[in-house]
């Protein structure tokens, strides 16, 4: 039976997409500069269908890309031309929510924010909050170890995943971790998280839920310079407080957010700093008094406390809507995700400013200052010849700055297809060999999300993974 026939027997026509018009929405994700048309898209409705599909791909040597809502900013769900897309949006059930054990077991297509909605009646919530949380899915969050605005205190997705049931690229189904907060033996659950789909597809994910903080205090401070806002972050950190979030937006990002969602940010400010404290009421009150003392010394033009939930929501609406708001300023943009040590933020931002002038390309800055995680938004017009190339070159220079400062090329968006060329600048050839060998040990034919994360991988669209690799030559692995 051919691969096509096998898919036809597995899926009714409405869930097996092959017409160009049907495939078009799947050609790209949030990294819109790249697109590729898959040979088919399947819409499984059960774990068993996903497992069967992966087994068929393995049998017929067809590469596959798993996809949730397609919000990856690194091209993580970009299809492969001769492969298929396994779209997981219909696997959107919360299988179990156990308020006593404070866990939720969910399918990969469950939207991030829906977990929190389901947990809310029990006074619980799911902490990781990427800006795309109203649409992005848990499966994608797991694959790319997504972050959010509250990582400083709560960590990334990996810190909130307790267990995973997954199908490996060879069709084997495994269960990692469990319901306990505590792992035993190698932390394979944590190792699977952030593997960018290279280890297969998560089918059921056990998430840790936290009690909703009793009290939240959100402060918005405005500064006459980006450097002053950066110094304020250093002062807050040095004070011994542990804010849940420390976010900065620069002038261009503020203007965009104001135009788009009217968040009420001070007009004309060169930078705004958002500081959020949360926890037990008694603690937060005492910490807030301390924070006020610290902020008074930072030379802020204005310090504003969100008086109620509505005011707090408005501040965050501006921040979380910043990417799409900046999109209004420019036909196209690239979002970067580099990380620098916190103490290098100031000089890095100054250097980005210089580069922006040199390249004559506008850069808006929105970033998780507490984590040193930058999100320069590089604005360009793809219709103007050469502008995309210049924007990409500028993006590359920014990544180089981050690596040179001792940081990382990605804090939370993942490497995807976008940044894999920069992996050799961050890791040694040996480091990359080991990562490649680990991938080959699990997926010798590079069927799962081929062309992502690892540099020098077979380019998407080709099936050039047929050369024997070192493990094969050593006789450690063999092809079926």
């Amino acid at each position: 039976m051919s691969f096509s026939t096998a898919l036809e027997s597995l899926y009714p026509p409405a869930r097996l997409l092959r017409e160009p018009a049907q495939l078009a929405p799947y050609e790209s994700d949030a990294l819109t500069a790249f697109r590729s048309r898959p040979r088919a898209v399947v819409l499984p409705e059960s774990s068993d269908e996903v497992i069967e599909t992966v087994r068929l791909c393995h049998l017929h040597d067809v590469p596959f890309v798993a996809r949730g809502s397609g919000t990856s900013l690194s091209g993580g769900s970009l299809p492969i031309a001769d492969g298929i897309v396994i779209a997981l949006n219909r696997l959107n059930r919360i299988l179990r929510l156990d308020p006593d054990a404070r866990i939720a077991v969910v399918e990969p297509g469950v939207v991030n924010l829906h977990v929190t909605h389901a947990a809310a009646p029990y006074g619980l919530y799911y902490a990781p909050d990427p800006s795309s949380q109203p649409i992005c899915t848990i499966g994608g969050n797991v694959a790319f170890n997504s972050g959010g605005a509250h990582c400083l205190k709560y960590g990334m997705t990996a810190n909130h995943v307790l267990g995973i049931k997954a199908v490996l690229p060879n069709g084997a189904v495994i269960e990692l971790g469990g319901e306990s907060l505590e792992p035993v033996g190698p932390d394979l659950t944590g190792f699977f998280v952030g593997s960018e789909g290279l280890f297969g597809i998560a089918l059921e994910i056990t998430l840790r839920l936290l009690p909703r903080p009793e009290q939240v205090r959100t402060v918005l401070a405005s500064y006459h310079s980006l450097a002053a806002a950066g110094d304020a972050v250093a002062a807050v950190v040095a004070s011994g407080l542990l804010p849940a979030a420390l976010e900065i937006m620069d002038k261009l990002a503020i203007e965009a957010a104001e135009m788009s969602v009217n968040a009420g940010y001070p007009r004309g400010a060169a930078a705004v700093l958002i500081v959020e404290l949360e926890g037990e009421a008694g603690s937060v009150d005492a910490e807030f008094a301390r924070l006020q003392q610290v902020m008074e010394q930072t030379g802020a033009d204005e310090v504003r406390l969100a008086e109620d939930d509505a005011a707090r929501a408005r501040i965050w609406k501006g921040r979380k809507g910043a990417f799409s708001a900046v999109g209004r300023l420019s036909p196209d943009y690239i979002v970067q995700d580099g990380v620098v040590p916190r103490s290098r933020l100031g000089e890095t931002l100054a250097r980005i400013d210089e580069l922006s002038a040199t390249y004559d390309i506008r850069v808006a800055n929105v970033f998780h200052a507490g984590d040193g995680n930058l999100h320069p938004l590089i604005l360009y017009d793809g219709r103007k010849p050469g502008e995309l190339e210049r924007a990409e070159e500028l993006a590359g220079e920014i990544l180089t700055l981050c690596i040179d400062a001792g940081g990382s090329i990605t804090g939370e968006h993942g490497v995807g297809m976008e940044k894999r060329a920069y992996m050799p600048r961050m890791f040694t050839p040996v480091d990359l060999d080991v990562m490649r060998e680990l991938r080959w040990a699990v997926d010798p034919d590079e069927l799962a999300n081929r062309g992502k994360m690892l540099p020098g991988d077979s380019p998407e669209g080709s099936s050039a993974s047929r050369h024997p690799h070192p493990l094969e030559r050593q006789g450690i692995i063999s092809r079926v």
Partner: protein, 369 residues
């Protein structure tokens, strides 16, 4: 590098690479030797890393530090405390001489993991020597990083069987300025387990929530940390939640958590085993362990059990497996340290095969490789 009988001491990364590249019996790294079941086994050579020590980078403003794997926890604790910071997961056996590398390789966290998470959640970067003698880096030195496979997670709990950790980077947090512990007595362990579950769901920032059997019923210890001026009303609120409770003195608080950190449970001859579970598993497990005469202590709202087991490894393995709970032997005779429910071999074996194809480190399981 010096070799005395079956012990090789390495004080540099190059010496670790050379030791791993030699022909000889499989090696297990040893730091402080506080978890002997993980650093000793029959027919296995010891790679002593206690000399590969020292903090190489620490900038308090970054909330991160990097140190060699053989650095004792006590040295790190002291260096961090000078800047009001700490490793919030309260790594066990600090006073006994446990090291960073051993803590990671064992994958152990203490009672303080309740607040912000365990060793897996604070380890941000590793350098290790794999079974082929290659120096491999994973993760980084910044608090947030999603580039490449998460090798720091893989090495957490790797039990010395995937590679030898040589240098590690951690995220740290500002330490609470003051602590307070409330102790309560409950009629049974089942009720204590239910109570920690309830308390953990309350919007209270618990530093620790531990329970253990007492001569009559069970004792529950709830620890808070934070700004000193905020503690009295927070303690009063906890005491409202817990009938029949008492606020410990600061000296009692310190001594109690030091004792729990020392894992000083049972007799020296007992096996000391960690098990992962949830509060719901406690009534059945605790009854079975009590019947066998084991000493028990449960941390992190019933997610982490410490068991001092007087019987054979085989019997404990069966007991835990019967309840589908995974366990790890830290002390006592054990040919293979994992007991109870085992990790997914379909994923772990290819990983082991890749990093240690020639078996320079022992297997996870009998007949596994």
């Amino acid at each position: 590098m010096s070799a005395i009988r079956n012990i090789i001491s390495a004080t540099t990364i190059e010496e670790v690479q050379a030791a791993v590249s030699m022909i000889g019996p499989p090696l297990l790294a040893r730091g402080g030797g506080t978890k002997p079941a993980l650093s000793q086994a029959d027919g296995v050579g010891t790679l002593d890393l206690s000399g590969l020590r020292g903090i190489s980078e620490y900038d308090p403003g970054e909330y991160t530090f990097t140190a060699y794997a053989g650095t004792p926890l006590a040295v790190v604790r002291h260096a961090l405390a000078e800047h009001g910071q700490y490793l919030p997961f309260d790594p066990p056996l600090a006073d006994a001489g446990a090291t960073l590398g051993g803590t990671i390789a064992a994958g152990v966290s203490g009672a303080g993991r309740m607040r912000y998470g365990g060793v897996r959640d604070f380890l941000i970067g590793v350098r290790f020597v794999d079974g082929q003698g290659r120096l491999v880096r994973g993760g980084g030195k910044v608090v947030k990083n999603a580039a490449g496979f998460d090798l720091p997670k893989l090495m957490t709990g790797s039990l010395g069987r995937l590679g030898v950790l040589v240098e590690v980077s951690f995220k740290v947090f500002p330490a609470p300025a003051a602590y307070a512990t409330v102790a309560a007595t409950l009629p049974t362990m089942a009720e204590a387990a239910r109570m920690v579950q309830q308390l953990a769901a309350a919007p209270v920032d618990w530093e620790a929530l531990d329970i253990a059997p007492a001569p009559k019923g069970a004792t529950l210890w709830a620890r808070l940390g934070g700004l000193k001026q905020a503690l009295p009303p927070r303690v009063a609120r906890v005491q409202e939640l817990l009938e029949d409770s008492r606020l410990l003195t600061p000296a009692e608080d310190e001594a109690l958590w030091r004792r729990i950190n020392a894992l000083d449970f049972g007799n020296a001859a007992d096996m000391l085993v960690k098990a992962a579970l949830t509060a719901r598993d406690i009534p059945a497990l605790d009854a079975a362990l009590a019947a066998a005469g084991a000493v028990r202590h449960y941390s992190a709202a019933g997610n982490l059990a410490w068991i001092a087991w007087p019987g054979s490894a085989h019997d404990l393995d069966r007991l835990l497996a019967g309840q589908r709970l995974p366990g790890l032997t830290l002390r006592g005779a054990a040919a293979f340290p994992l007991v109870g429910r085992r990790p997914a071999a379909a994923f772990l074996q290819p990983v082991k095969q890749t990093l240690d194809p020639a078996g320079r480190f022992p297997a996870f399981e009998q007949d596994a490789d």
